[in-house]
Symmetry: D2
């Protein structure tokens, strides 16, 4: 694959992709207001490379400058540099955008560098394709969305047992040039504003699922590929002050339908092979490197929510009550725990067979398992602090209407003028109560898979030796 | 007070009240689309009296027909009848509207019948006023909203210590005709569509708060009274199928400002008396009778959410997994627990000094303390079952757009056609994830006061004798 | 089966049973100090029949006086009478003894009255045997322990797949006189002090388990039956004041081994039939009637623990803190919830095909699922209130030793003399911290089966119609 | 203070101390079986210095060899060395002994090195005394127990408001040689086997408490000092195999009474000064250095409990069930979290004004706040896995009795012979269910103070700047 992109990101979005939103066809994604926040986030990613290149760029294998998220870390210092870049990017959206380019870039890097897990050339040179894809992404700084979760149609059946064949993406036929695939993917975050879509399965396919066992990349504007944006959280009837985050940072999710989509062999990474399909995201260490980005992003989120809880308490006269202080302290312990586990993920990093410094999965999955509970607790504390106040905030424009003086007189305090009060309460509602905030709650619980399975896999893969040794010592006690 | 209302409820709303919404002045509340759901709920209350009078009407003290919620129950059978009427009314909105007329009617009845707790005639005949107000409500089936929660300005200070005097509603001055009051109330649910506003304080005023210790009723259109509707959860850009509840049943909350509002003595129930202010909602048994309505309404809500969780599991192929079954069973135990406590609240009812059959507060407050946790758990289970599916639902109109066939083909299963799928997922999101559902979560936690205080009061007031006796027996064990 | 017992209960225990305790063979159970508490509980059951016959006796089918726990309730009043008797019996041990005679009597009654679920005569007249066994128990007021839980050897395998055939009790062979069985049962509470052992399986056998699918009764002294008492919680080096409950009310559990035990056909209720084995405890309504006893007993326990928490708070100067009050109030809401669900279990009772008034399983299982959490929370609150004080209580005899004056001077307060202080703290430790209390915690979680399975079955069997109807109404909303 | 100790630790215990246990006077602590485990732990501390001096000894200020726990860390490497020594010591008892010498040594070191917080010489040279005390401890490797928690008599009152003056330790009188103090301390762990007692108050004294604001050290055998050991968890009627930990590692707590105890000025560190009393444990960084030991010890505990849970699941055929795997994975995430926070506590360490490398309090207190919940959860999982099996284990000696063959035949499986089965179940019960294990649960919750206060202080002291900055950025969002 040899791609050379010249158009700007924003221009590239007007490419004839089949994009559906709110019952209408979107002709130019760049012009759709509901996507403005998502686009701005990708642009921020590009901008940081310009404004802080020492943090966000590094040298690629041939000396060229590449985004640091696409570089393979070789040392603990490299990991630390990536962490700093991840954090600066996450801070742009307070961690509210989970699938910014650095996320999937981390996976593309890992897969490209460990491409040997895709096997020797067969129907195509899958490993070579993965390496070439990494090179193309590095060269062009493409924004790739990914689609891995299959639609939830009948979870009691394996893919090949579902009555509706769109329960995943499957191979229809092939020829010398490539494959034709059809099917659906449930949730492809940011797909409406991506250059490319990377389609694959999370590990866990079962025998008989071979037809579904594919991984490939296609441009967003591919024929037969339909992108259905979910209903935006953006509220057009409300101002950005009313919804400081929801109206600025909606990370649009999408439902994908593929109908007779052609994929040339050079863009195929896995073909009808359940073991390689599992390896694509697992043994490639993609999970490790996206995990690193993910837990750093989680910290950005935790900092904002804990800060909001503290600010509410401090400005509403609540910060002196011991039970409130306890809750605020509890949240701060979670911030500290996240910091610790990020540190441990690097401290326990190991070199992969390809010489890549690979963050420790146990450290990161400990975040994945526990962060959703922490985040939910943070939202709950915010709800409790601002309960009734949040539920009765007037519209921002009421401040300038004829009634503005009434609001100003009655809602200002020495600690909080009315404008800041409304903004703060609106921020609190956005992160804890409104669709935007609850999407975050749901996202944190499930974006990396069912927590029950995360924990089960954690048990299976945990280095249990020291634990077993303690039991053995206890059973062997004498005297 | 002698009121005789002739206009229809809907016409009465066009009365010149000072109503602010979304930065604009609303001229006629009845014509504002954001209020349609709330108005429909009040109309349903009236309609049930016509379509099922045997359930919703009863005979008043002079033989006239009155809404059963305004009648004083004298027997256990009367309580049971009220429970049935409460449930039918709650089922109209699946319990999502908490302040339908039967709620506050229960309070107005209790205060009117136990008006002696307001004391002997002083500046005015407060007890007589309360009785007259009940009579007027019975005669005209008025819809009264109430405003009791003070703005959360500086909770570290008592009302009289706040820097901003709008931290409550206080007496400015008085003369022979009545009072002038100013101040604010934080959250007056349904005030934009009410006939009348009943303004009072929840028990808990402190010495020094006398100026704030008032209770009175005024028409919604009173001069100096400003009603600020909070931002609606109604989404105008989405259909009712996209938001089955949020776009139909938004229970609009409001912020109230009173500026030099005149209240004639005949509409005053408490005047500069912190003890009577506390008694107004407490010793009047208002809390008991609104509590009865509230826990019955809670059951309606629990039934819907538990049903939604079960339906999701059954149609998405999840109902066969033991861990899912456990969660569904857990939710059902909560439905059963609510049924049990409603039953106990009646079984343990006692006759008040005025001969009113008064439901048991311990039974009802056990619901109040625990229901928010149950409700939150229900929402969480729904979120976990429908997680990604909920987050990627396309717009309802996509079904009829050019892409409708794609959705129909890819999202239909034998268990669930695509229309029902989207409606069910949208319902799930409304009750668990969107602003509408989270307002419900917050509402259930806090509408009856801080759960910490509820539990503390529970301890203080619980009939502890059998518990202490058990301890005494254990301490006295011999042999 | 025609049994006529003449010896006293205590004398009957000296019957040559094979009883092992603390590495020794117990010759006479009645003389073993570790069993004194358990024996006293059975005797209390008998004594109540004498001291309060109007509560604890009723008339049997032929007019004879029988323990009320062996009578078949026909009306709601009958259920209420049983509840009162259950509660008085439970109060003797504050609910700490779960398997007092009224428990298993309730099962024997239900099985006897619904014996038709055991099928028509085959290898034996199983139904007739069950009826005769009930008659014999009524006639002689026998104390029957039961053994239903199989040893936890390899739970990954069905019984017939276990490497060790003692994973349950299985049929070895049979002849015209009866069966020979071998095997083991994990936990037969109070077996060391029982007249008889009733051996059966909880529902859930699998195809292939036929050899294990038996139910029968044998005298405790049967040849080949070995009873291993678990290590007692009784502390011989400590006084009853040091362990007010543990040293008085240890409900001794036992492990049973059966080796070539002969059971005559007249004592067999189920024979190599997995469906009838499941029916023995399920379709016989045994679960319903033991459940009724169980939740009433739970209330006794909850009353004591809540009372202890309150007493600690009140005497240690903690009852004025709002966060402590909240916890005490929370516990009281659980007491109230238990009262409510007991009431509902009777209110929703239905007549069985045999005309027995049968308490509602959904109401009772709601207790079963939630009570363990409540109980654990009660223990946790007690631990938090008495934490360090509980951990440093001196021995009771220190009070009378040379140092007694020091303790008296330093540990007495106006609210609590030193003797009561120590007793109260010891009581707190017994119910919350010591082996005795933790056995209670474990017992409440698991004695009625794995909570996960209870909840899963709850979902499967719950009357879901009203819940589904609410969903249907919501999906059908118009306008 | 110039102490030169020559007798062995064990011999030093026979010093005439006033020691009460089980209602009797203990003449020689070293000969009391109930103290054997505690004594063994102190001896293990000494033995490790001999067997692994490179880990457990280091050079003191004058080049002499001293226990590493008494040395002042100057670098991150020093902290890491201490961590390794702490862990080896903790592993001796699987963390079950919390107050081994390294704990209090860490405090004595911190106070001695930062003695300037005790102020300039006044009634005595308090700072000099603290330095001399550290020197004496280094020279003689004394084992110092500490007593800081006051008796829980009337917590509604400050110390000076309690009716009983033994609510703390207070100054009776003084002269040129020293003080006379009287009072009590609630829980002085290991005091019965200590060389010395260090008596002080945790921070939090109130104005008026000056008489109680003292800190000093006295030999255990001081006149007027009475030590009441709490009732041992050791079970004399059970073997060490029956109680693998309880019968080996009981960390005896004690109640102290001081009656007219003389303390020479050279052993006084704080005198009638509430601010210095608070500083003694706080501003001295004692809390930081004991915290470091404490969280490392917690890790040892977590490893054992998680290992026990895994071993139970693996040997009882439970490890294949997804819900069990989830629980085991959950526990492992806690082990990982502890590792992470230990790492962070060192990573974020700062140099004190005295040049001591001081571990980060926020990292450590995050453990303190959350570890009790983790530990409780670990115990709960163990209880759920081994529930009935744990409750019915026969006595160890039954294995060798006449019934041993029966147990061997019926309880052995390919995965677990009967001896190991019983030991494992007994271990499970010891850590989760018995008095020993529950003391651990209570200890972890409260030994470092009320978790509510820990969290409240956490909030107050947390470096909140990054959190506030995030909120400020969110409130300032433009466009």
């Amino acid at each position: 694959m040899n791609v050379r992109v010249t158009a700007s990101y924003r221009d590239r979005l007007n490419d004839g992709r089949h994009l559906h939103l709110n019952g209408e066809v979107v002709r130019d994604a760049a012009a759709e207001p509901a996507f403005a926040g998502a686009i701005a986030a990708v642009e921020a990613f590009h901008r940081l490379q310009k404004t802080a290149p020492e943090t966000h760029l590094t040298h690629g294998p041939e000396g060229e400058l590449i985004p640091i998220s696409l570089s393979a870390p070789r040392t603990l210092e490299d990991l630390a540099r990536k962490r700093i870049a991840f954090k600066e990017m996450a801070d742009v959206s307070f961690g509210m955008l989970g699938r910014t380019p650095d996320f999937i870039n981390s996976a593309i890097m890992a897969i490209g560098v460990h491409a040997e897990v895709l096997g020797p050339p067969a129907a195509a040179d899958f490993a070579g394709n993965a390496r070439a894809y990494l090179a193309a992404c590095r060269q062009n700084d493409l924004f790739v969305a990914h689609a891995s979760i299959n639609p939830q149609l009948d979870r009691a059946q394996p893919l090949h047992g579902n009555a509706n064949p769109f329960c995943g993406v499957r191979v229809d036929r092939k020829d010398a040039r490539g494959l034709w695939v059809s099917g659906a993917k449930m949730i492809a975050t940011l797909a409406p504003v991506a250059d490319e879509l990377l389609v694959f399965n999370m590990p866990g396919l079962r025998p008989g699922d071979e037809a579904f066992a594919v991984a490939f990349a296609v441009p967003a504007a591919t024929e037969g590929l339909h992108i259905f944006g979910r209903k935006p959280t953006v509220r057009r009837d409300l101002t950005k002050a009313d919804h400081p985050l929801a109206n600025r940072m909606d990370e649009v999710d999408a439902y994908l339908v593929l109908k007779d989509v052609f994929v040339p062999w050079e863009r195929v990474f896995v073909f009808e092979d359940t073991a390689r399909s599992d390896a694509f995201y697992g043994r490639s260490y993609a999970r490790h490197h996206t995990g690193h980005q993910g837990i750093v992003r989680g910290l950005a989120k935790a900092e904002l929510l804990t800060g909001v809880a503290m600010r509410l308490a401090e400005t509403l006269g609540l910060a002196g009550f011991p039970n409130i202080q306890e809750q605020l302290g509890e949240l701060a312990t979670y911030v500290e725990t996240l910091r610790a586990l990020i540190l441990l993920s690097e401290h326990d990093a190991t070199l992969s067979e390809a010489g890549v410094m690979t963050p420790s999965l146990p450290a990161m999955q400990a975040v994945r398992y526990n962060f959703p509970k922490m985040y939910e607790r943070m939202a709950k504390v915010i709800q409790s602090l601002a309960a009734g106040s949040m539920l009765s905030t007037p519209h921002w424009r009421d401040l300038s209407g004829e009634a503005g003086d009434l609001l100003r007189a009655t809602l200002s305090t020495p600690a909080l003028d009315v404008e800041t009060r409304l903004k703060l309460l609106n921020l609190a509602w956005d992160v804890s109560g409104d669709g935007f905030g609850q999407r975050q709650v749901v996202y944190e619980y499930y974006h990396a898979g069912d927590p029950m399975r995360i924990a089960a896999a954690y048990y299976q893969n945990y280095p249990k030796q020291p634990l077993g040794a303690a039991v053995d010592r206890a059973l062997a006690l004498e005297g």
